[in-house]
């Protein structure tokens, strides 16, 4: 009976740990610096490895995805991806000039961080710095996908 109770306690602790991991955390004010990026291509691998689906190589595709309503993220310097839920008071899913114009840029954002069920979400109150595109990986990968530059623009 004692061992059974111990087993119950062990499962209960595991369950509570699991439940707390799924629960919402208290919001925190944070400053995040990183690249504005396309979360779908980055996580799904649909266009290849993660190094190729950021930076200048993926700039046009990032704009296509943001215009298509695919969630925009910030890839921070420590490798953490934050999903942007609001950008300076506007929703990011409608492909506005505000969200399209910062794709692939390295920005610093003053934001509120919300964590829920394994995801980190940002409500960006202000973009306090924008260094432009700093990852010039098109020299390594070319455009990703290749058709980001149409034949007509390649002179072919």
């Amino acid at each position: 009976m004692k061992s059974l109770l111990s087993a119950v306690a062990a499962v209960a602790i595991t369950a509570l740990g699991s439940l707390s991991a799924h629960a919402a955390s208290e919001p925190q004010r944070v400053t995040v610096t990183g690249e504005v990026m396309d979360t779908w291509c980055y996580y799904s691998g649909v266009m290849g490895g993660q190094d190729a689906v950021v930076g200048s190589a993926h700039h046009t595709c990032a704009i296509w995805c943001a215009a298509g309503g695919i969630p925009v993220g910030i890839l921070a310097d420590d490798g953490q991806v934050y999903m942007v839920l609001e950008l300076e008071g506007s929703g990011p899913a409608d492909g506005s000039e505000t969200i399209l114009s910062i794709q692939s840029d390295r920005i610093t954002a003053d934001a509120m961080l919300y964590e829920r069920d394994g995801f980190k979400y940002l409500v960006v109150e202000k973009v306090t710095a924008n260094e432009g595109i700093t990852n010039l990986n098109h020299n390594d990968f070319g455009p990703i996908p290749g058709f980001a530059i149409p034949k007509s623009a390649r002179g072919g």
Binding site: Y43, I70, V81, L100, Q103, F119, L136
Partner: protein
């Protein structure tokens, strides 16, 4: 009683998506990283409203990202619909804002605490399964002046304006010209 308690606790401790799966999925494989087909019941929610309590009318009317609140209380962000041309899932979920639906699709990603979801099919309560392909239809309604040949992303005036201003790599047209001359 004890058996039920143990079972309940064991279910609660299962990994995130093991709990979410419900029934046999008919989702098509895309060969994506960490891909797992899953169909389940969930409520369509505005993620900002759900996680931050900041709730716009009508789930943000297309401006805010939408997600799925599962029956066990987890919020799953939807990143993609079933179309292959850079289309998100907002337009497909929006008509069901606040409603419980059955979804079918793919969880994707690996090495992360939780996976994203591509919704391929939706079935409202009492309704039929439908493919998630509304993005381009809604785009055409929004940009009637962009009518023409080729995919939407080649004709979208917002995208064309960005490319005209900053080039294909976002570094200006001079860099485009240099690259094209050297690469092709």
């Amino acid at each position: 009683m004890l058996k039920k308690l143990l079972l309940g606790l064991a279910v609660a401790s299962l990994p995130f998506h093991a709990v979410a799966a419900d029934g046999e999925s008919k989702a098509k494989s895309w060969g994506l990283v960490g891909e797992k087909a899953a169909t389940f019941e969930a409520k369509v929610v505005d993620i900002l409203c759900e996680v931050a309590g900041k709730c716009a009318d009508a789930c943000g009317a297309g401006a805010y990202q939408l997600g799925l609140l599962t029956t066990d209380g987890k919020v799953i962000p939807v990143n993609k619909n079933s179309q292959t041309s850079f289309n998100g899932g907002v337009e497909d979920l929006l008509p069901f804002c606040g409603q419980t639906v059955q979804v079918d699709g793919l969880f994707v990603g690996e090495g992360i605490p939780a996976q994203l979801y591509q919704v391929q099919l939706i079935k409202p309560e009492g309704g039929e399964w439908a493919k998630t392909n509304l993005h381009t239809k809604k785009w055409k309604e929004k940009f009637p002046e962009a009518e023409g040949k080729g995919p939407w992303f080649r004709r979208d005036p917002r995208i064309l304006a960005q490319t005209e201003k900053n080039g294909f790599f976002g570094l200006g047209k001079e860099e485009d010209a240099r690259f094209i001359k050297e690469w092709y």
